[in-house]
C-alpha cells in the first residue's frame, strides 16, 4: 500500500482494520477521519500496513463508533480465535501517533503577565522566528475547539509535516495572546499559520494552498 491509495479512503468517521502482507489482521481502530489515521499508520508502521478495510459510520457519537469497533473486534476473534495483536492488552504499537503528539508551546511559565521580563508580543515573535512551522489555534493539537482550527491541523497532519501549536485560548500560559497575535499579523481571525517566520494565512488560504499543492511545495523548500 502506498500513500496514493489513501485517496480511496473517505475523509469520514468509521472503523478500520489493517492487514499485514500475509493477510493477517494486525489492528482494528476507529477514527473520525480515515485518511489521517491510516496515513499515520502507513508512515510509522509501513511494513505492517499492507491493506486496509474500512466502514463508514454516519454522524457517529463516540458510543456509536465504539460499538462498531467492538463488533469488528468480536468478529476478528470469532474468525482467528484471538484479538488482533495490535489490540492486545498492553500493546501500544499502533498508538505511536498518540504517544508522539507534541505538547503545545507555552509562552509563559503560567504566572500571569506581572512577572514577565518581556512582553507577550516579544515572546510571540520569538516563537514565530525560532520554529519552522507554527500554528496558532483555538484549542490544542488533539482537541481543537473550532472548526477552522481543526481544518488547519488536519491539513498539516495530512501533509505529515512537523509543526508546533500554540493555544490562544490558554490564558494561563499565553495571557493576552488571542489579541496579540491579531495585532502581530494584522489578520483579524484565528487560526493563523507561520512558516519560516512569515505569516502564511488562515484556514481558507491554507485550504486553497493545500488543494493546489502550493503549501506542500512551500514546506518542502
Amino acid at each position: 500500500m502506498d500513500k496514493g491509495e489513501l485517496t480511496q479512503f473517505p475523509a469520514a468517521a468509521g472503523v478500520y482494520a489493517v492487514y499485514s502482507p500475509d493477510g493477517r489482521c494486525q489492528y482494528i481502530g476507529l477514527s473520525r477521519k480515515a485518511t489521517v489515521s491510516i496515513a499515520s499508520h502507513l508512515q510509522e508502521l509501513r511494513d505492517l500496513t499492507h491493506a486496509v478495510r474500512y466502514e463508514v459510520v454516519e454522524n457517529p457519537s463516540r458510543e456509536d463508533l465504539t460499538a462498531k469497533w467492538q463488533e469488528w473486534v468480536q468478529a476478528a476473534v470469532a474468525e482467528n480465535g484471538e484479538v488482533p495483536p495490535g489490540n492486545a492488552k498492553g500493546n501500544t504499537t499502533w498508538a505511536i501517533r498518540r504517544a508522539m503528539a507534541k505538547p503545545e508551546i507555552k509562552l509563559t511559565p503560567g504566572k500571569g503577565l506581572q512577572d514577565l521580563t518581556c512582553s507577550i508580543e516579544d515572546l510571540l515573535d520569538q516563537v514565530v522566528k525560532s520554529n519552522k512551522v507554527v500554528a496558532f489555534v483555538k484549542g490544542t493539537r488533539t482537541q481543537p475547539q473550532c472548526g477552522f482550527s481543526h481544518k488547519v491541523l488536519s491539513i498539516l497532519n495530512e501533509i505529515r509535516t512537523p509543526y508546533e501549536v500554540v493555544n490562544v485560548l490558554d490564558e494561563t500560559y499565553n495571557p493576552g495572546l488571542r489579541e496579540a497575535i491579531k495585532a502581530y499579523s494584522q489578520w483579524p481571525t484565528i487560526p493563523q499559520l507561520y512558516i519560516d517566520g512569515e505569516f502564511v494565512g488562515g484556514a481558507d488560504i491554507l485550504e486553497e494552498m493545500h488543494t493546489n499543492g502550493e503549501l506542500r511545495k512551500m514546506l518542502s523548500t
Binding site: P188, D204, E208, M209
Partner: protein, 112 residues
C-alpha cells in the same frame, strides 16, 4: 403595607436618573451589509454572500470578483477583503472567503 412600601421604594431607585440620548442596540451584521460593504469598498463587479450563521453568531461565506485583486497574491486578496469588512468584522463570528478572483480569472474559469 410594609411590602407595598418596599416595592415602591425599589421602583423609585430603579427609575432614577435619565438617558442622555436614544438607546442604540447593536445587532449582528447581515448578508446585505457584507455585500454592500464589499461592492462599495472593493469596487467589486460581483459579490456572493451566503449566510451560514448558527448559534455562535453571524457567519458568512463570501465570493468576490474585483479588479482590485489584479496582481495580488492570495494572502493580499484576503487582506483586502478583511480590510473592506473591518467594521462588519466586529459583529461577525466567522467569515470564510471562498473565492477572490479578478474578472479575467472568472472568465477563464467559466470558459473551461
Amino acid at each position: 403595607m410594609a411590602l407595598r412600601a418596599t416595592t415602591l421604594s425599589l421602583q423609585k431607585v430603579l427609575f432614577s436618573g435619565s438617558f442622555a440620548g436614544p438607546l442604540v442596540i447593536r445587532g449582528m451584521a447581515t448578508a446585505a451589509d457584507v455585500e454592500k460593504a464589499l461592492k462599495e469598498r472593493l469596487k467589486a463587479s460581483e459579490v456572493t454572500v451566503i449566510d451560514t450563521s448558527g448559534g455562535c453568531g453571524a457567519s458568512f461565506d463570501v465570493a468576490v470578483i474585483s479588479e482590485a485583486f489584479e496582481g495580488k497574491r492570495l494572502l493580499e486578496r484576503h487582506r483586502l477583503i478583511n480590510n473592506a469588512l473591518a467594521e462588519e468584522m466586529k459583529q461577525i463570528h466567522a467569515l470564510s472567503i471562498r473565492q477572490c478572483w479578478t474578472p479575467e480569472q472568472q472568465k477563464k474559469a467559466q470558459g473551461t
